[in-house]
């Protein structure tokens, strides 16, 4: 077994264990922290796939901004009951069926291929500027709208 394959198995097991912890956590704060662990484990898997820049981007934006934002929301949110989902035969069977369906589909198409952790040297900035500036504008507008919506919530709260 190559070291990179062992690292991939370790990162994958960490991500799956954190996902189970997220779903089964009694407190939403611990569920959000588990989401951060999933983000970091995912970044390790991105590195092993060769996406070094994307791994760092994931940590900076997703874990550093999105998960932190969720964490503050959970902390500042009023205490309401948040019962964790119960594990029943039906729910466990449905999750197993979803896993089998998705894994079988992905494996049928891509499973037999080899992945080499060679880095991806595509120039994202020039690709965005030349061919993908429309999606970039859409994402920018969506993020600006989120900021405006946050201000609107604050103003409405003060009026109340």
């Amino acid at each position: 077994m190559f070291p990179s394959e062992g690292l991939a198995i370790l990162a994958g097991a960490t991500a799956l264990a954190a996902a189970v912890a997220v779903v089964r956590a009694r407190q939403l704060v611990y569920a959000t922290l588990g989401l951060g662990v999933i983000g970091i484990a995912n970044s390790a898997l991105f590195m092993l796939l060769g996406y070094q820049f994307l791994a760092l981007f994931n940590i900076a934006v997703y874990v550093g901004a999105v998960v932190t934002f969720l964490l503050f929301t959970v902390i500042l949110f009023p205490k309401v009951p948040a019962p964790r989902p119960e594990v029943t035969m039906l729910s466990a069977g449905a999750a197993a069926a979803v896993f089998t369906l998705i894994f079988a589909t992905l494996y049928a198409i891509y499973g037999s291929a080899e992945v080499t952790p060679s880095p991806v040297f595509e120039k994202y900035a020039s690709m965005i500027a030349s061919d993908y500036w429309v999606p970039f504008i859409i994402v920018t507008v969506a993020l600006v709208a989120t900021i405006i919506e946050a201000f609107a919530l604050i103003v409405k709260y003060e009026e109340v």
Binding site: G12, A15, L16, L45, V80, A95, E114, V115
Partner: protein
């Protein structure tokens, strides 16, 4: 290194996220489970792009996806806050109408 490790992890994350969404009644817990599914889908996308020989385009799509996920989380949290103001709770079972 075979791609099966990445694909199994992605499928597992999607399945666990789906279990969390289906079994939860709290809107914030549903949102967190949705983000678990997003992570699985992102990993599947990047693995497929790597195997298919188009890693640049897959990485670019993942960049935009992470940006849109950030905007989506902001909108979902705002909906949860407004739902709490209107209904006094974030239990989805009690949100049976759009009044307010």
């Amino acid at each position: 290194m075979e791609a099966v490790v990445f694909l199994a992890t992605a499928a597992g994350l999607i399945a666990v996220g789906a279990f969390g969404i289906a079994g939860s009644r709290n809107l914030v817990r549903i949102l967190i489970s949705l983000e678990v599914m997003f992570n699985g889908a992102l990993l599947a996308l990047l693995t497929a792009a790597r195997v298919a020989g188009t890693p640049g385009y897959g990485g670019l799509l993942a960049l935009f996806s992470i940006g849109m996920a950030a905007a989506e989380v902001g909108v979902a949290v705002a909906i949860a806050i407004l739902a709490f103001r209107v209904f006094g709770d974030v239990d989805v079972e009690k949100m049976s109408s759009l009044k307010g």
